[in-house]
């Protein structure tokens, strides 16, 4: 019973992290039909930047903000200087982002080395919270869950209740008509990309605090985002949430009960979803 609840909580908090990374990924894809395979690199770079800033400023929250802002700026630059000129060429964009992620991974290794970095979050986040049955659970992981929920609600609010959000949703449905009705689509694209990239950087700091920041995390989170959005459905933020919960739970339950094949559970879920609904649980056919 104790193991069950612990595993469940672990799965849920891992899902929270996956959701933060994957929601930006799916947002960018939904609007721009563009796969950014450098998304994992943004996660890792955001983590490193956040670490440097929090070390310098002595404030963890500043680090989180820096991770978000720095990656949002980089996302903005990537979109306006690079991807804008490759609109509609999916394969080329994919390959260019793969190239970028290779370079980024190597340069990050050169700059920060192979060590893993640990953040120091504020005291009140660090301890453990008393809980029934399992006695106690790390406060930080609960915090992670809360942050993911807040982000989910904010994204929902942003997408359904604000003007820019409406434009983004309209762009997902029909880009040509949106552009014809006088909306500056390039601006909407740039904003979306900045938010998506910023979320990856944010998750880099927040997630890096829960686990650690080290080389290889970029491909790990890229893979997690891929599976999450494939399962949940490309371009759907609620889909990313469902996918993240499924994948997070599967990974943790697999790890707890059959340690050798933990990773295979994720894969089985993906295969099952593809077999029944190739477009993902909440995805729509393109």
């Amino acid at each position: 019973m104790r193991l069950l609840i612990l595993t469940f909580l672990n799965g849920l908090t891992l899902a929270a992290l996956y959701f933060m990374v994957a929601s930006g990924f799916t947002l960018v894809f939904g609007l721009m039909r563009q796969i950014n395979l450098a998304h994992g690199s943004l996660y890792l770079l955001g983590g490193y930047v956040g670490y440097e800033v929090s070390q310098m400023a002595g404030s963890w929250f500043l680090g989180v903000g820096a991770g978000f802002v720095a990656m949002a700026v980089i996302g903005l630059l990537l979109q306006t200087l690079l991807f804008r000129f490759m609109e509609g060429q999916e394969l080329r964009q994919t390959l260019v982002t793969i190239g970028l992620s290779i370079i980024a991974a190597d340069l990050m290794l050169a700059k920060w080395g192979g060590l893993s970095y640990q953040f120091d979050p504020p005291e009140w986040l660090f301890g453990s919270t008393p809980m029934p049955i399992i006695n106690a659970y790390p406060t930080y992981r609960l915090f992670l869950l809360g942050v993911a929920i807040v982000i989910g609600v904010l994204l929902w609010f942003f997408l359904t209740r604000t003007r820019v959000g409406m434009m983004i949703r309209a762009g997902v449905d029909d880009r040509a008509i949106l552009s014809a009705s006088g909306v500056n689509v390039q601006l909407v694209f740039a904003i979306t990309f900045a938010i998506g990239a910023g979320l990856a950087g944010f998750a880099g700091v927040v997630g890096g605090t829960a686990l650690s920041i080290a080389p290889g995390e970029d491909s790990r989170y890229l893979l997690a985002s891929l599976v999450v959005v494939i399962v949940g459905g490309m371009g759907s933020v609620p889909g990313a949430a469902i996918g993240a919960v499924l994948v997070g739970l599967a990974e943790q339950f697999g790890l707890a009960y059959t340690p050798t094949y933990g990773i295979m559970f994720t894969f089985v879920i993906m295969v099952a979803v593809l077999a029944v609904r190739p477009q993902g649980i909440l995805g729509r056919r393109a």
Binding site: I35, T94, L95, I98, D106, L223, V227, M264, L274
Partner: protein, 355 residues
Amino acid sequence: MSAVLPAQPANASGAVAVGRRSAARPYHFIVALLLLVFPFVASDFWIVQIGAQSLILGVIALSLMFLAGYGGMVSLAQMTVAGVAAYMIAIFGVSTTGSGLGWPWWAVIPWAIAIATLYATLVGALSVRTEGIYTIMITLAIGMATFYLAQQNYTVFNGFDGFKGLEPPHLFDVDSREPLPFYFLSLAVAAVCYFFVLYVSRSTFGLSLQAIRDNARRMRALGYNVTLHRIVAYSLAGLIAALGGVLSVWYNGRVSPGSIGISPIINILIIAVMGGMLRPAGPFVGAIVFVLLQTFAIDFIDRERFNTLIGTVFFLVVLFSTDGLLGLWERVRVRLTAPRAGVTSGQRDGAEGQR
């Protein structure tokens, strides 16, 4: 040679690109001659590390080119298919790790290739449910899942360590591990694969596959089984990748999860894209450039930073060409010859039409 299509589509856009049916040109013979003479003048290092390695990587990348160029499906699982063949050689054959079943080579090789081809077919059956960009992600996820399975399973895949001490068979008293025999073995396999791809691309099946790439809906309406064509393309590509995998396990003498991890997977993509994914020669050009960079990068850049170098080269090639280095070369050639040959030479039109 000429393939007869069961039904000619009402050709509105001329979208069906037909493989070039050009006669052999002088440079074909020059390349063939170079490949045959090269090992007799080069040192062992050049024969094996550069020559054989380029050929092996070229074969694996060729399988990706076949899928992507003719089928429009970019599968990142091709290295994994090669890895499955390599693992099968190790598991059922002889290795110094001691856990091999010790089958004789004439049984192990076809068995390994058959299993890898079957695996490729399953990958295909799964990923043809998706299209375009989704295929990349799904095949990448499949490749990574296989990598984790191999890394964490000790009973079959021997986990992190994998298998060591794998040797090619001795045939007719020839030790195929010696540089010359191994080079010619690789060259023979590469040539067979190259001409096989060329042949298939001009067969009825290959033409239908290219038509499906250009307009799947129209082909479906014409009564073609689009899904089956795509799955068969995966099987054929799997066969090629499996051959490359067998060679690579002999070349490396070992196979471990590291051989099918994310960086070898991406390397194959880099090789195919860098060389050009519209022609079977592309992957081999890409492989030579890749291997040369990998080997000699140490001279002008810190060895640690090889990935930055190859990433930058890849990035630039993708940014400036839609058809890799061969495409760049074609463009340069067209630009150079254009003033002299006139703009509307038939050959150039043919080349342009293919893009």
